[in-house]
C-alpha cells in the first residue's frame, strides 16, 4: 500500500510544527479517509488533530466560540447553539447522516472537498485534482454543480451546509499557522475557482483552523432550508441560510447565503442590498432574487438551479416576514 507517516498533535502549535509539505491535517476523517481510499488525496504525512483541546463551545460575552474539533452532532445539539443560532443547528442536522455527524468536525466540515464525480475518480481528468487536465463536467455530468461564480476551469460546488449558515451569520474563522494567527471572516475562507480550482480556500500550507467564532445573533428571524431529491443524507441541490429583520413592514436587515450553487458558500449581497430598506413584500423579494441570479451562468443540465434558487429565496424570505 501507499505508505504515509502518522503523527498525533497535542496542541495547535505542535500540529503546525509537525506539518510539512505534503502533509495533511486529519480531523474526523469522514472525507479525507474516503479521498485517500480513492487515491484523490495522497498525503505523505497525516497530522492527527482530532484530539486537540479544541472541542469546546464557549460563550464569550455575546459571542460564541466553537472549537475546530467539535463534532457536528455535538454542535447541533448544543443548548446555546440551539437557543441562539437555531439556523446553524438546522444546517448541521441537514448534512450527512447521524453516523457521519458523530465523526465529522467543524473544521473538517468547512474543508471538505467537492463531490463532483470527475474529481472523485482519478481515472478521469479534473482541473481541481490535477491542474491543467481539463474539466469534463462542463460538457458532461454537471447537474449538481455550480451556476454562480464558476470558471471555464471548474464548475465544482462546495458541499458543506455548515459553511452556508456560517456565511450568513458572518462567522470568523480563527487560523493558526507557520505565519502566525489570523482571522478570516466568512465567506472569505473559500475562494472561487478562477484558473486555480485546485485551491478551495485561502488557507496556506500548514494553516490550521482552531475555532469558528460567531458574533451575537443578528436581529430578526432566521431559517435554513436544503433542497434535495431524497429526504436525508444528500448534498444540497440548492440550500439557503437567511436572516431577516422586518420592522413596521420595512426590511431593517437581511442576510442570505446560498449553498450548492458555487465553489464557495454564496453570500447574496446583491439581493440583500436590493431588499434592505424596502418593503417586505413578495414582489420585492422576487426582484432581489432576480437581481442576484442575473449573474448566474448555468449549464444545460443545471439550469434548474436558477429558478430553484430564486424560488427558495422568495419563499424563505416570505416565511421570515412576520
Amino acid at each position: 500500500m501507499r505508505s504515509f507517516e502518522y503523527a498525533r498533535a497535542d496542541s495547535p502549535p505542535d500540529a503546525v510544527r509537525r506539518f510539512r509539505p505534503g502533509a495533511m491535517y486529519l480531523g474526523g476523517g469522514t472525507n479525507l479517509v474516503d479521498l485517500m481510499r480513492l487515491g484523490v488525496a495522497e498525503p505523505d504525512r497525516l497530522v492527527d488533530v482530532s484530539r486537540l483541546p479544541l472541542d469546546a463551545i464557549e460563550q464569550i460575552r455575546d459571542r460564541l466560540r466553537i472549537g475546530a474539533a467539535v463534532r457536528n452532532s455535538d454542535l447541533a445539539a448544543d443548548p446555546l447553539v440551539r437557543a441562539r443560532y437555531p439556523m446553524l443547528a438546522r444546517a448541521v442536522l441537514s448534512g450527512a447522516s447521524g453516523q457521519v455527524r458523530n465523526m465529522a468536525t467543524v473544521a473538517g466540515n468547512l474543508l471538505q472537498r467537492t463531490r463532483c464525480a470527475y474529481f472523485q475518480d482519478v481515472s478521469r481528468p479534473c482541473n481541481k485534482r490535477r491542474p491543467g487536465s481539463g474539466c469534463p463536467a462542463i460538457e458532461g455530468d454537471h447537474a449538481n454543480l455550480a451556476v454562480l461564480g464558476r470558471s471555464d476551469a471548474c464548475v465544482a460546488t462546495h458541499p458543506s451546509d455548515l459553511a452556508v449558515a456560517l456565511a450568513a451569520l458572518e462567522a470568523e474563522v480563527h487560523v493558526t499557522g507557520p505565519a502566525g494567527d489570523r482571522i478570516i471572516p466568512m465567506p472569505g475562507l473559500h475562494r472561487l475557482p478562477g484558473d486555480a480550482p485546485e485551491q478551495d480556500t485561502v488557507l496556506e500550507p500548514g494553516d490550521l483552523i482552531t475555532a469558528v467564532e460567531l458574533p451575537a445573533p443578528p436581529p430578526g428571524a432566521s431559517a435554513y432550508r436544503k433542497v434535495r431529491e431524497r429526504a436525508s443524507f444528500a448534498f444540497a441541490l440548492v440550500s439557503i441560510a437567511a436572516v431577516m429583520d422586518v420592522r413596521d413592514g420595512i426590511v431593517a436587515g437581511c442576510r442570505i447565503a446560498l449553498g450548492g450553487v458555487a465553489h464557495a458558500p454564496w453570500r447574496a449581497e446583491r439581493a440583500e442590498e436590493a431588499i434592505i430598506g424596502g418593503p417586505a413584500t413578495g414582489a420585492a423579494f422576487l426582484a432581489a432574487a432576480e437581481a442576484e441570479l442575473a449573474q448566474a451562468r448555468p449549464l444545460p443540465r443545471n439550469a434548474f438551479k436558477v429558478p430553484l434558487a430564486r424560488n427558495l429565496i422568495v419563499s424563505t424570505l416570505e416565511e421570515l416576514t412576520p
Binding site: M1, R124, R230, L312
Partner: protein
Amino acid sequence: MNRVEGRVKVTGLATYAAEYPVEGVTYAYPVQSRIAKGRITHVDASRALAMPGVLGVLSVEEPPELAEDADAELALFQSRDVAYRGQLIAAAIADTYENARAAADAVRVAYEPADHDVGLRTDHPGLYRPEVVNPDYPADTEQGDLEAGLAEAATTVDVTYTTPVLHNNPMEPHAALALWAGDGRLLVYDSAQGASIDRDIIAKTLGLPPNRVRVVSRHVGGGFGSKGTTRPHAVLAALAARAVGRPVKVALTRQQMFDVTGYRTPTIQRLRLGVDADGRLTALEHIAYEQSSTLVEFAEQTATPARVMYAAPALRTAHRLVRLDVATPSWMRAPGECPGMYALESAMDELAYAAGLDPVELRIRNDPQTEPDSGLPFSSRNLVACLREGAHRFGWDRRDPAPGVRREGEWLVGTGVAASTYPAKRMPSQALATMQDGDFLIQVAATDIGTGARTALTRIAAETLGVAPDRVHVELGDSDLPAAPVAGGSMGTASWGSAIVRACEELMKNGKEGRADTTGEVAADTRLARHAFGAQFAEVRVSAVTGEVRVSRLLGVFAAGHIVDAELARSQFIGGMTMGLGMALMEETQTDEEFGGFLRRDLAQYHVPACADVESIEAVWLEEQDERLNPMGSKGIGEIGIVGTAAAIGNAVHHATGHRVRDLPITPAKILMPRF
C-alpha cells in the same frame, strides 16, 4: 416465527463470502480498463511485480487457461479487445489487500483506443430485433390490426417514456474466496444467489467437470439479481488462486460493483393506446428500446407485461436492442416487468385522463378473461379484486380527478394508481429430507439472500411433516447439497418449496429418508397463464417552490397465492415498494458519454431511499386459493412489490402538479423546469 438465522446475523456470527477464515489467504485486486473501446497493446507488470508482497499479475500478456466457450463477460484476460470502460483487464495478487491494491495501481496498460458509442437512442442504426427476450419470449408479438384499432378509437395516446441505467446496491458487496485442493477440486465461497448454477458456470468457464467445483453461499447480503449470474470476481478469485497456489480473496469495492456486476438497461418505450367510447381498449402497442454490450446479448423482456395485462383486440409488442460499448446489463429486481410496467401503467393513466375515465375503472373494464397474448386461462387472476380492495382502503372514491388543484401551503397533493404483475413460475429442484436424532434435516442448494428463505422453507417443511418448526433444520447455500435453482425471478420458494414438500412426503412414507426431484412434476404442469397481480396506490406531495417530491402514503394490495409467512411477505412487499420509490424519484446511474463507463458510482451519489423517504407504507394481500401452482399454492413475492410502484408515484405527481414527467427519475429539476 422468528427468522431462523436471526441470532447469528445480529450477533455477527453469520459468515459472508469474504469472511471465511482461511490459512494463508492472499488477495487479488483488479485493474480496470480506462478506455471504452479499443485494444490493449501492452500490459507492463514489472513495477507491480517488484512491489512488496506481490505474488503475481494476471493479464492478457500471459492469458490464464479458460474454456473456449466461456461467457464473454467471464473470459478474463483472454482478449486484447476492450469492450467497455471498467472491464477487468488485469489483476494483481499480493499477501495483503492493500499491497494487491497498490500493485494493481502500478500496472501500466498501453491502449490503442477506438471511438466508442455508449448512447441508447431510438434512431440508432445498430438497432435490431433479438431472436428472443429473457428468458425465451418472442421479441415481437402482434394480434389484430393495430392501426385500424387506433383509427377507430374514440381516444388515443402516443407517448414515450424513458428509464435510466439503474444499479442494484446490495448491502454485501460482491466477493469471493477461492481455494484449490490438492486433488484439483475447487472450492469457492461466493456471494451468489444460486450455488448450483454458480458452480456450473464456474466449472464451465474453467473447463472443469461440475463435480470438481463446490460453491458455498451460506449467507448472502442481498443481491436483487446482481448476484444471480456468476460475476467476474468469482472467476478472478479462482484463476488467481490457481496462479499463485494459495487461497485468494476478491472483494469488489462499491465503485467496481457499478462497473462489473450488471445493471438494469436504460429503456426508451413508446406506447400507443386507443380506447372506445365505453372505455374498452381498441389497440395497445408497446415498443421497447434497450441496450446490451458487444460481448453478450442481454435482451430484457420490457414489453412482455403488455401481453398479460389488458384485453385489446389489437395488441402489438416489440423489442429493439442495440449493442453498445458498455458493460452487459443484467438482472435487477423484476427485470423487464418493472420498467415495462412503469411505462404501460403511466400510459394507461394518460389514457384515462384523455378519455375522462377513472384510472381504476379503466383497468377494471379492460381486465381480460384469458391471457391476451397466449389465450391461456389464468391459474388465478385477482387484479380487479386488488384494485377494488386498494381503492377502498386508500379512499379512492373521495378523489377529485382534476390535476394540479389541491394545495397545502406550498405543497401540491396528488394520488395515483398503477397495476402490478409478475410471472409465478417454478423451476425443477431437488431436496433431501432425513431424520437426525429425532429432528428433521432438510437439505437443498437454495440461497437465502436476506429474504428469509431459510425461515420460509423451515415452515414449509414443518407444515408438511406436521411438526413444530424448531424440529426442522434447513441446510442450504452449498452446491454439494441437492441441486436447486437460483434465488431469482420470484421462483425460489415455489421451486425449492415444491421439492421440500415432496421430499418430506416421501420421508413420512418410509420413515427414514425422502429424496425429491421435481423435474418431472414441473414438466407435467398444466399450461396456464401463471402470474401474481397487485395494485399500487400512492399519495405524493410536490413542493411548488422546490419541485421536491415526498411520498406521503404508499399502499400495495397483492394477490400472490397462499402467503407462506406473513412477516417475511410483508418485508418483501414493502422492500419492493421502497425500491420502486427509489426508482421513481432518485435512482439513476450517469453514463459518461465522453470517456465511457459510469459516473457517480457510490452510495453518496447513487441515491436509494432512506428511512426518511418512507413516510407511510402499507402492504396487504388477498388470500388467494390457487392449487394449480405448486404444493404450497404460493406465488413468488420478491418482485411484485416493485412492479407498478414507480408508475403509481409518477401518476400521483401528475395528479398533484398537472405536469407529466415521462423520464425517470422524477427529480426537482424535471418538476421545476417546465413550470418556468
